[in-house]
Homo-oligomer: 322 residues x 2
């Protein structure tokens, strides 16, 4: 409700395309890195070191979120968060996001206000703005976000730089979103912490540049599940990665939830996606930065193991295989 | 069919998310400006002058294109073209595109191949690459493109810099897509040139930086219709713009089509959207570059007129008002 008084029953069709776009951006302060904000054919964003990091993710109603499980605000936060996590995983700081929203014409304008509020909330966490957007008509809600970032002069930390002898460390939550999904899937709405984790990830954005500065050789954000995403590092770096399970923290809260549901909390931690923790490899165990937990080792080979053996349970999340 | 032999009846679900993303990018050469291409958490693109221009547009099946009117390849070309036109309208050269594709799991893999082929075809026109992408499940086809660009050290040409005394000029096609829409809407498939213009715009990409170098004070790409988009310049610059109708070329081909359909070709030229011509204002009539046509003047005030009078027919295109 930022662009003046309006009737609560107003729809997206009532507002019109330009009214909607104004709602996305009017009255929102832009940071200094936004050289030209929304309202023109394109935005202009600072790219201080002569390069820009860029990533796009698309979230679809009924596939990546459910509006009976998440508020529009939570969907907005999640759409930005998953993209900012990609920027962090390169070792970069975010500089801007652009947003495309497709939704039915009958959508309540207040719903779009809430969604947009969520986008801005998550962007504000890292002091960036929504610098551009498009709002179009569609049968279902689709939110597409592109995030831009700045490597601050450093080389990008890719998935391909891990070397035998490195140690593996993680930062951020693992298994929480999977636990939340299990809870919601059984028709429950609590415990609130795990349900909130499913609705909106809390990626450790600052840990990405922190790891890069500490000499991380490879990094990825855990979107598909820890073991699945370590598989991407193993493949890209042509290394083997072994996770030592007694080093992997299984939070008591997840144990409690798994016990109640007859599930396996460790399985959530090893394979659950959508938390957007960061996993990185470092050449020196003593160089692993504060806030990161060392959980494994990198050796010659090309596979991912847990305690030296292939992990038995089914792997990560693939949209198409559901 | 770039990633090896496969069965023609393969669906998107058969390929899986990662198979699809590989199809978007595998075996495609990237230009030098792509410092890190697809396959990691994010791409890294050169931003030579320390800034990046960025724009997002979303195209939805049934709203922005119809798969019974356009081939998937044409849809791919259009999705990139509308974004590259936005970059050109800032006076910038394009450097990269990122693509989000949402489509039903049952979609034929060959259809996505064709769509992706179209994306790359249009990108190749300006020697850039698709540097990142996301492919997700959805009930309808939605294509979201973000284009990045480089101002080469120049200030951006916004909508807000037009001054009384400037002249107005345009470069590129006007009215062709509207004529094509009228033809397709009556169930015809020819004349081919106007139908092709509706399926895939041909924006004059190089004319954007050319106009910037020539001192353009304001610029916009004509997506909603000439008069509607001039309205955006008039509002942003707080000027009046008068189009002199005898200077506006109405191509004979459009006259022929309009006669056959009982329509008004001049109306298509003045109000038809989706051709993505460029309209710009220049301080000096002698400074209007080659390939541009001077069609009007900028004065004090805040309106858009044709031959000094308010244009009578209905204005441009708004998605929500259909």
């Amino acid at each position: 409700m930022r662009t003046g008084p309006h009737n609560g029953s107003e729809s997206v069709a009532d507002l019109g395309e330009f009214g909607l776009i104004r709602r996305l951006t009017d009255g929102r302060p832009q940071p200094a890195v936004t050289l030209l904000g929304p309202g023109d054919d394109a935005a202009v964003v600072q790219a201080a070191d002569g390069r820009v990091v860029a990533s796009t993710d698309v979230l679809v109603e009924g596939v990546h979120f459910r509006l009976d499980w998440s508020t529009p605000e939570q969907v907005g936060r999640k759409a930005v968060a998953v993209n900012l996590a990609d920027i962090a995983a390169m070792g970069a700081i975010p500089t801007a996001v652009l947003v495309g929203i497709a939704c039915p014409a009958k959508t309540a304008a207040s719903m779009i206000d809430d969604l947009v509020g969520g986008l801005w909330q998550e962007a504000a966490k890292v002091r960036i703005g929504v610098v551009g957007g498009d709002v179009v008509n569609a049968e279902h809600l689709v939110v597409s976000v592109t995030a831009l970032g700045d490597l601050e002069g450093r080389p990008p930390v890719t998935r391909g730089g891990a070397l035998p002898g490195d140690v593996l460390a993680v930062c951020g939550r693992l298994g929480w979103a999977a636990a939340g999904l299990a809870v919601l899937g059984r028709g429950f709405r609590s415990p609130v912490t795990v349900v909130a984790a499913q609705r909106t990830p809390e990626p450790p954005y600052a840990a990405g540049p922190q790891a890069a500065l500490a000499g991380a050789t490879a990094m990825i954000d855990v979107s598909d599940g820890l073991l699945a995403d370590l598989g991407h590092i193993a493949t890209a770096s042509n290394v083997a990665i072994d996770v030592q399970s007694d080093l992997v923290e299984v939070p008591q809260r997840l144990v409690d939830v798994s016990t109640a549901l007859g599930a396996d909390a460790r399985h959530w931690v090893l394979t659950g996606g959508e938390d957007h923790a960061l996993a990185a490899t470092f050449p020196d165990p003593r160089g692993v930065p504060d806030g990161w937990t060392t959980i494994g080792t990198v050796t010659r080979g090309n596979k991912v193991t847990v305690d030296g053996a292939r992990y038995e349970a089914p792997g990560g999340w693939q949209h198409w295989s559901r």
